[in-house]
């Protein structure tokens, strides 16, 4: 039986110097093989005039290795007809699974893994579930997230029993009954689940429902201040998690002071807008990730477009692996009539209007700079039709107060707008 606090104490708390030595070993072993087999890496590195032999340590890598972005992957895919965008570095016969990015920010891209018993993503997730307190014999509510495979395997790695109960849109009323029957200890929630739970809380005592839980996790998009308060009201301890540059996941620990990325699986960097220099500890930079445990489609210095604050200072939980705080997406800033706004501005405004406080919305943005601000807003579908004009006016006023722009507001019943979600999340910025 593992340590009560850490699933892998020797890895999770290893010294920074040992961790960096481990990363360097893995990286130097990986680079020649990937250069030889990955069309995208060979093209990118050849164009930059860099060879794997030029990289003798982590400093060389940070200084000389070229960066790639998702558009590079797409362009390679479309130019060469390679479904993996030049990333595949093993024979297809060695591939175990091929999954894809969510596709919420554009055209989904593929990534493959080769593994035997447990997918690497589930394995790293298991460390986090152990930290949260999932233990052998516990029941866990199965997660609907599938873009990285069936996540209940991580529950099973911790000895827990997954409940294969529907937790999708419109299913939480029944899921709550399953919770009361089995009393699970953990569930993964998404931005699609929270509005539904919020509505259910008017008729069901969610404090009782969640009383058996040691924690819930939340992923897929930023957790708004109001929803964080609601989760606290329901007596849950919420662990936010996010993607670490499409390479792996990063999870809050019990200190809730940033999301830990397991650095034995990913080399993290935070770089300036030009991608030239690392930014300082805790400063805002773009997350750049390099796979250290994916032989099938390894990403090498992948620019994620995610803005983060990163620190490698040891966490109070005892773990030494880097933590970061997501700040937003690099491309989310929108200019309307010369004024700058981000989706969180709309989010906060909608939380001020009772009928739209679940903040289900889409900012329609055909271009980064626009003359008009158009927002689709989901309203509580129990709202009488006669009140909708009033709701629209109050929403418009709240958005104007936050952004300085008078918006064009289109109202939809929440379930209708939520049905546009992809990969477990609703795109907050859409082109049309």
């Amino acid at each position: 039986m593992p340590d009560p606090k850490y699933l892998e104490p020797e890895i999770e708390t290893m010294s920074r110097s040992d961790l960096e030595r481990l990363q360097e070993e893995r990286l130097l072993e990986l680079l020649p093989t990937v250069y030889e087999r990955s069309g995208l890496m060979k093209k990118t590195w050849d164009e930059a005039g860099v060879k794997p032999a030029d990289i003798r340590n982590l400093d060389d890598f940070h200084e000389r290795a070229p960066l790639v972005c998702k558009d590079d992957v797409r362009q390679f895919r479309d130019t060469y007809g390679d479904p993996f965008g030049g990333l595949l570095a093993v024979d297809r016969s060695r591939v175990s699974t091929v999954f894809s990015t969510s596709g919420t920010t554009g055209d989904a891209t593929l990534y493959a893994h080769t593994w035997d018993r447990w997918h690497p993503f589930w394995a790293t997730l298991a460390r986090n579930l152990w930290d949260i307190g999932v233990r052998p014999g516990d029941y866990v509510l199965g997660s609907g997230f599938k873009t990285r495979g069936q996540l209940y395997h991580a529950d099973q790695m911790c000895g827990a029993i997954p409940l294969m109960v529907d937790t999708g849109i419109g299913a939480w009323s029944e899921a709550v009954k399953a919770i009361l029957k089995y009393r699970p200890v953990y569930a993964t929630l998404t931005g699609l689940a929270l509005p539904e739970l919020d509505h259910l809380s008017r008729t069901i005592d969610l404090v009782d429902v969640f009383s058996s839980f040691v924690g819930v996790s939340f992923a897929g998009e930023p957790l708004s201040a109001r929803m964080r308060r609601r989760l606290v009201d329901w007596g849950t301890e919420t662990f936010v998690w996010t993607s670490a540059g499409d390479v792996t996941a990063a999870f809050e620990c019990r200190e809730h002071d940033g999301c830990h990325a397991w650095e034995d699986t990913v080399l993290l960097e935070s770089v300036d807008a030009e991608g030239r220099e690392a930014v300082g500890n805790g400063e805002i930079g773009e997350l750049v990730a390099t796979s250290l445990d994916n032989l099938a489609t390894p990403l090498i210095r992948f620019r994620s477009d995610d803005l983060i604050r990163l620190t490698r200072e040891q966490c109070a939980c005892g773990r030494t692996h880097a933590r970061f705080w997501p700040v937003g997406r690099k491309g989310d800033e929108t200019i309307v009539q010369g004024l700058s706004l981000v989706p969180m501005d709309i989010w906060s405004a909608l939380e001020e209007v009772p009928e739209t406080e679940a903040a289900v919305f889409q900012l329609v943005r055909p271009a980064r700079e626009m003359d008009e601000l158009r927002v689709r807003v989901g309203y509580d579908d129990t709202t009488p039709t006669a009140r909708l004009d009033d709701v629209r006016d109050r929403v418009a006023a709240a958005i104007e107060a936050r952004t300085g722009v008078v918006p064009e507001v289109e109202l939809f019943p929440e379930p209708e707008l939520l049905s546009r979600a992809r990969g477990g999340k609703l795109s907050r910025v859409v082109k049309a």
Binding site: M1, P136, M157, M164
Partner: protein
């Protein structure tokens, strides 16, 4: 490559007796069932034998379309694909996620699609035929078959039947359940299931809320047990 250290750490954790809890619905009411690790292992062995008959082997790309709550039925087939040396991708059962199934099918040269339902077939619209044109074997929920046929595609059957799964063999005359685990009978048009294997969840001549017919004559494929012909409006 899963980190060896994490695999070893997970191995040191006592495994639960149960692989999971599944949930079926009969007449609109939840009908839960336990699945033991031994149940899952036998289901996976059966899935492996089925996929072998359908030519799944080294390098075969398989697209499995099912929701997370369907994992008690579909997970054995995911694992079986790996044991056969193939690789799998996962599609969702919603029309708004149909694009992902279409994307996998066209980009990866998928040879086997397992579990396409009406919502996904409908969601692909005019792309249904082109997206699946290169697929060698399609296993569909019964209510998706007319849409597939209209797109010029032929399909075998996969459908949940209580805690069991009915899957067509290559002969394609009805669908088999694992006869070592389940016995199926008809009560009029209503199908009843009995466990014959040492499963964690036992049931005897239980109605499973599914209409269809049962054939007890031997299948040309040589598999033992009855076959089922399910109502064409069955969607799961």
């Amino acid at each position: 490559m899963t980190l060896r250290s994490t695999t070893l750490a997970a191995d040191s954790v006592p495994r639960a007796e149960l692989w999971g809890i599944g949930r079926d619905h009969v007449a609109g009411q939840p009908a839960d069932f336990q699945i033991s690790w031994d149940d899952w292992e036998r289901d996976t062995a059966w899935a492996e034998s089925m996929l072998a008959e359908h030519g799944v082997g080294s390098g075969t790309a398989v697209l499995i379309i099912g929701g997370m709550p369907e994992s008690p039925w579909f997970d054995p087939f995911e694992t079986a694909v790996l044991r056969r040396g193939g690789h799998y991708s996962l599609g969702e059962v919603f029309s708004f996620e149909a694009f992902r199934s279409g994307m996998y099918a066209t980009r990866l040269g998928v040879e086997v699609v397992f579990g396409i339902n009406r919502a996904v077939a409908d969601g692909l619209g005019g792309e249904l035929g082109p997206a699946l044109a290169g697929v060698r074997t399609i296993f569909a929920r019964p209510d998706a078959v007319p849409l597939l046929q209209a797109a010029g595609l032929t399909a075998l059957t996969v459908s949940r039947l209580g805690p069991g799964l009915a899957v067509s063999c290559p002969v394609g005359d009805g669908a088999h359940l694992n006869a070592a685990e389940w016995s199926v009978e008809a009560d009029g048009e209503q199908l009843m299931l009995t466990t014959v294997g040492p499963r964690a969840h036992q049931m005897t001549r239980q109605h499973v809320g599914v209409t269809g017919q049962v054939a007890v004559d031997p299948c040309a494929c040589g598999r033992p047990g009855a076959r089922v012909y399910l109502s064409p409006d069955r969607g799961v």
